[in-house]
């Protein structure tokens, strides 16, 4: 069983409204606001290296931009949604 959590996220930047709540909750600070704007005119988060797949951003996002979370250490829901 690996001990270091490695993860990534599926992120739909086109529906982001730039509220920055995910930036604040990320415990490892790997989300950063872009300098560019998406098609609806908002800045959006960019995922840097070091994501642990902890799901915090997905839980807080009001615009449902985080559509899926992946991690090397599966939880009990992982079997259901594969």
């Amino acid at each position: 069983m690996p001990t270091k959590a490695i993860g990534t996220v599926d992120l739909d930047i086109e529906i982001c409204k730039g509220c920055e709540l995910c930036i604040k909750v990320c415990p490892v600070n790997v989300l950063e606001m872009s300098r560019e704007f998406n098609t609806i005119g908002f800045r959006y988060p960019i995922l840097l290296d070091g994501c642990t797949g902890c799901e915090m951003c997905a839980l807080i996002c009001p615009d449902f931009c985080f559509t899926a979370i992946y991690r090397n250490i599966p939880n009990k829901r992982a079997a259901e949604i594969q």
Binding site: T8, K17, P62
Partner: protein
Amino acid sequence: MPMTKEQAKEQLKKVWSLPKNSVNLGTHHMCPGCGEPMAYRIIGEIIEEMGIQENLIQVAGIGCYSALDVMMQNDRINALHGRAPSVATGVKRMLPDRFVITIQGDGDLVSEGIAEAVHCAARGENFTVFLLNNMVNGETGGHMTATTMVGHKTKSTLQGRDAKVHGMPIKTAELLAQLEGTAYSARGSVHSPAAIIRTKRMVRKALHAQRDNLGFSFVEILTMCPTGWFMETWEAPQFMEDTMTKYFTLGEFKVPEAVEAAA
């Protein structure tokens, strides 16, 4: 050679995904940083987990969140302002095998229609009410409601709510917990991931209480309204943590033993 994102993903397991059957995603028209879509997602996740979206009728109140109802994949009716619990009473009495929920705001449920909720709770009607409390009438411009905290600035109380003039705010979850017909009453919040996880548990318990015919179930969910609160989007959760949850304490006020044991 470094792995592409797709290659890396193959080695990882999907541990979380948005509910797909109960919630139809896509852009919605809430303000940036609004807490109401999160509350809807939590309710949708539990509906999907229980597999009841085909068997559920939602009665919607009137407020910003009414625009979110198109997101839900279940049958729904829009009630007049504040009257959703009475409409839900009729639906549940005619179709007792369906799950019936109402989703209402504080302006809708507390300011406009508190009597409906109180009487439904007193009669022990077997449906679930979700109150999205953001302390303002968001949709009509952000004026004070009956749950606005003392000192809180809104469009109609620019100096802050004054207890001498406007009275004291109503703590709905505590109020309804006192009634004998109420099976379950709790208050959650969406200001942090931890609060969201706890609120999800409350929503599950409330719907389980309805499934087991225990009586009226109620969950108040505190949501942020940065637009109505004159705040930056990222300041609102901190304000809730520091101030709002100190007055509107989070927790369960009435839990039936059967539900407690099962959860």
